[in-house]
Structures are given as structure tokens and as C-alpha cells.
């Protein structure tokens, strides 16, 4: 059965306060090279058939909120 991996990320223009906290924590651990972190969601769908139009629709209707988020997807197997 094909697997579709959808990733949803906060738009770059929006402050990701959780991501910023994580970046701060990494720095605290000694990873000074970390300047920023952004946290998104990864949603893996098992589908009977792959129809890219329908997957895009799922992202627009439910999986991502276009006001604040961007999405992308790939068929991984």
C-alpha cells in the first residue's frame, strides 16, 4: 500500500516560539552552531491509491491551515 508523507510547517514569517525554545536548549547543551529551530508536523498516510490532487485537497481542507502553515508531501513507497 502506498505511503504518503505530508509535512506541515509554520510559515517562515511566523515566530515559532516552541522552536526557539528548542534551539535555546540545544545551545545550552553546547551546540552553539544552532541559530534557530522550527517545529512542524509529519503526517504519514497509508492510501489505497495515490492521487496527488486529492492529497493536496486533504492538506488544504484539514491537514494544514493555509493562514499559518505551508505543506508539502512525497510518496515514499
Amino acid at each position: 500500500m502506498p505511503t504518503v508523507r505530508v509535512s506541515v510547517t509554520l510559515k517562515p514569517s511566523l515566530l515559532d516560539s516552541a522552536g526557539r525554545t528548542v534551539a535555546g536548549s540545544l545551545k545550552h547543551l553546547g551546540y552553539e552552531e544552532v541559530q534557530d529551530a522550527r517545529i512542524g508536523k509529519l503526517i504519514q498516510l497509508e492510501v489505497d491509491t495515490v492521487d496527488e490532487g486529492r492529497i493536496r485537497e486533504m492538506c488544504q481542507k484539514l491537514l494544514a491551515n493555509p493562514v499559518i502553515e505551508d505543506f508539502s508531501f512525497e510518496v515514499i513507497g
Binding site: L14, S17, A18, K41, V67, I68
Partner: protein, 227 residues
């Protein structure tokens, strides 16, 4: 006149809303479960707060797809009154009835405290009589209102900003903004003015016993709605 108080798995301000409406405002109100297919017999809708569906995916996202919300969209598009508070605001925004989105508070904390609000428009029954600074509680982790610059301009041009967080003197300042909302926005209305969403809880402030009655100035509009 009868108000539908919507209930979803994870609603937790439904009882506050119903009791405030019935006993403090003095209007008829009944619960309506999320998979009900109709709002027949109701004259207004109250979408209460809570953590519907455990806030899975995004706050309000799953609830916004339920049968009763589809009905609420039709109801609102007929120009009939709909209010969403806290998670109810998130649901109405996710459903596309209100512009913008609610995101994680800027300081990452769940904030539960009283705030001061200034009504910014007369274009809704809920705000028309709020002519002084009111104090009512907030209780949310994801109440930071986000909208892009064009959206904000459109809100301002159409007088759709319902409430802003202000200090006790009614002045707009950053320190009065509890969650990092764009332009201190605490609530917005739709273009027609019949749908209001707000993060603060007026239903928790309609009795002195609860610590204040300023929520009454918003919710008393329910008693003006004709059947």
C-alpha cells in the same frame, strides 16, 4: 428565543455557557451534540470553550469538520447570531467563518487570569453596548491571534476587530497583550457582524460570585435576539 450551546468531545465550558445564559442572562438554552444534523428551533449558537478532540492536529481543526459546525456555517450565512469563545473561537476560525488563526501563546504558557478589554466596533450586537473598559478572564495556551498585513488592514477597514487587550485605563500597550496577538486583538467579527469569536470568557463573568459581571455587557445581547 433559544440558544444552541454546542457540545463536542472535549468541550469543557459548555456548562458554564448554558448556566450563564439560562440563569444570569435569562434566555432559554439547550445543549446540541456535535453529530446532530440540524439547528432547527434555535435562534442563536454559542460555541463554548474546551479542548475538542484533545486539540489534535490544531485547536478546533477536527471539530470544525463536524456536522453541527457545517450547520452552524449555514446558520451564520443566513445572518443569524453565532458566538465562539476560546476553543469556540478557534473552531469558528478553522471553519472559515472568521478570518485569521489562533496559535501558541508567545511565552509558551497556558495563561489563566483576568484581562481588560476595549470594544472596538459597534457593528455587532455583542459589542454595541460595551462602552467602557471591561474585565473578564482568559484561560488558554493557544490564543495568539495571527493574521497577515493585508488581512489586518481589511479587519480595520471593515471594523471587524471586536475587542483589543488594553490596560486598566483602556490604553493599548504591549504589556496588556497576554499572548502576543497581532495588534492586541482579543476578538473579531465577520464582515456581516453576526459572528463573533473571542478568546476571553464572558460566560465566566456574569455573576459577582464568579468575580465579576462584565461578561454580562456582552452576553446580554442574547436577550435582544428575536425568535
Amino acid at each position: 428565543m433559544k440558544v444552541a450551546v454546542l457540545q463536542f468531545p472535549g468541550s469543557n465550558c459548555d456548562q458554564d455557557a448554558l448556566k450563564s445564559l439560562r440563569y444570569d442572562i435569562g434566555v432559554d438554552a439547550e445543549y446540541v451534540w456535535h453529530d446532530e444534523p440540524s439547528l432547527a428551533g434555535f435562534d442563536a449558537v454559542f460555541v463554548p470553550g474546551g479542548f475538542t478532540y484533545g486539540d489534535y492536529l490544531r485547536c478546533g481543526a477536527i471539530a470544525s469538520q463536524s456536522p453541527i459546525v457545517k450547520e452552524t456555517i449555514k446558520f451564520a450565512n443566513e445572518g443569524r447570531p453565532v458566538i465562539g469563545v476560546c476553543n469556540g473561537f478557534q473552531i469558528l476560525a478553522e471553519a472559515g467563518l472568521l478570518p485569521g488563526a489562533l496559535t501558541r501563546n508567545i511565552n509558551q504558557k497556558f495563561i489563566c487570569k483576568d484581562v481588560f478589554l476595549r470594544a472596538e466596533t459597534k457593528r455587532s450586537i455583542w459589542t454595541a453596548d460595551v462602552d467602557r473598559i471591561i474585565r473578564i478572564p482568559i484561560a488558554h495556551g493557544e490564543g495568539r491571534y495571527i493574521i497577515d498585513a493585508d488581512g489586518l488592514k481589511s479587519l480595520e477597514d471593515n471594523k471587524q476587530i471586536a475587542f483589543r487587550y488594553v490596560n486598566s485605563k483602556g490604553e493599548l500597550e504591549d504589556s496588556a497583550n497576554p499572548n502576543g496577538s497581532v495588534s492586541n486583538i482579543a476578538g473579531v467579527i465577520n464582515k456581516a457582524g453576526n459572528v463573533l469569536g473571542m478568546m476571553p470568557h464572558p460566560e465566566r463573568a456574569t455573576k459577582e460570585l464568579l468575580g465579576g459581571i462584565d461578561g454580562f455587557t456582552i452576553l446580554r445581547a442574547f436577550s435582544l435576539i428575536k425568535a
